[in-house]
Amino acid sequence: MIAKWRLWLGGGLLVAVIAAALYFPALRRQVNVAKQLTEKSAEQARRELLPPAPASSGDPKVRVKMFWGSKAGDSFTPVTVELPLSVDPVLRAKQVLNTLLAGPIDPEARTLPADAALLAFYLLPDGTGVADFSESMSTSIPSGIQSEQMAVDSITRTLEANVPQVQRLKILIHGQEMDTLAGHLDLTQTFLVNTSGLGTQPAKPSAASILTSPIHKAVETMKSVTKR
C-alpha cells in the first residue's frame, strides 16, 4: 500500500519535473521579450521627451563635410553636402550628427549603426561636447577595434570640420558613462576633436585625452536629466 502511494507520488513529481523542463525555455523567452520591450519603451519615451534638432528651414544652407567610411571600412571618404545649419553650436552639432547617423547613399559606407540615435548633445564652457547616443550605438556596431575606432573618428572628424567650438567629445550611451563602446574602444575618456591629423593615421593620436572635472559634472547633469 505504502509502495503504491510512493509510486503515485514519484510519478507525480516526475510529471511535474518534465512539465517544468518543457515550460522553462518558453518562460525564459517570454521574460527576454518582456525585458526588451521594457528597454525599448524606456528609450522610446526618452526620445519623445527630448526635442529633436529643429528642421532649421530658416537657416542658411552651408557646405558641410561628412566623414563616412570607405567600402572596405578602413578609411574615410569625406563627402561635402549642403545643409541648412544653425549658427548655434549645440543645434549645429545635433544637425551634423543626425546627418551622419542618417548615413550616406551607399549603405556600405556607414560608420554608425542604422538604428542608432542621438538622444542629446551638450556643450560645456570649456569646449567639451557631450553626445548621448541610444543603446543601439553600442549593441548594433560591428565588433572590433577598427570598426569602433572608425565610428568614433567619423563623429570627431565631422564635428571638427563643422562645429569648431567643440574641442573635445565625451560619448555617453543612454545617459550613462560606459567602459567601452562595444567591448574594445575606451569610452571613459574624452576624445580630441578640434585638432588636425586625427584618425587612423599611424603614429598620430586619433582620440583620447584626460578626463577633466567638467565632464564629471556633465555626466551628473545627464543622469539627473535621465531620471527626470
Binding site: 577595434i145 574602444l185 599611424p202 593620436p205
Partner: protein, 210 residues
Amino acid sequence: MGLNIVVLDPAHGGTDLGARGTEGIRESEVILEFSSRLKQTLEAQGFQVLTTRDGNDNPSFDDRSARANAQRGAIFITLHIASTGLPGTVRTYVMPEFPSATNTTGLISWDRAQAPFVGLSRKLGDLVQQDLARRFRGSPATATVAPVRQLRTTAAPAIAVEISSVVVQQRGELDRMIPGVADAITHGVVAFRPSYILPLVSSGGGATQP
C-alpha cells in the same frame, strides 16, 4: 630586468563570442587557435608564455591585465579578429599618450597603468607592424594609435593585434593567415627585446588596483 615573459590575451570567450562572420566563424574560437600557435613560436625563441585564458571562459579586462601586471619583465599582447576592414590585412594598436597618475606611495594608478609604458608599447607595436606590413599587403606600415580599453590598465609594454576579418568567405582563409601573423609578432618581439628597459615607475614595480 630583461624581457623574458610574454602574456598572450585571446580576446572574448564564454558567452562573448566576439566578431561573428559567414560560415559560422566565431572570433572567440579562432583566436584561441591563433594564441596557441603564437605561444609555440614564442616559446621556440626562449620566451616564457602565459595566457589569460586557455578555454572557453571570459575573464574581465582587469583580470586579463592583472596577469601581466603581476609579472616583472613581461610584455602583453591582446589578440583580436575584426568584423570589418580589408580581408587579409592586420593592424597593431597602441594606446595614445595620456598622463600618468602616481599616489604618495609612488605606485601608479591601476586605471592609468599603461601611461608610463606608452613609449615602449609604441616601439614594440611599430616593430611588430613593420613585419606584418611586409607579409600582408594593405596593412599599415606602423602601429595605429587607438584608446583600446584592455591596454589602459596594463602595466607593461602592451599592444593589440587585430586580423581582418571574419567576413572572409571561408574559415580556411583566416587559418592560413595565422602562421604568418604569429611569425611576424614573434620577430617583432625578438627585435624589441634589446630595447626593453622598464621605466622607473615605483619601487614596487606594480600598479594599485582599486
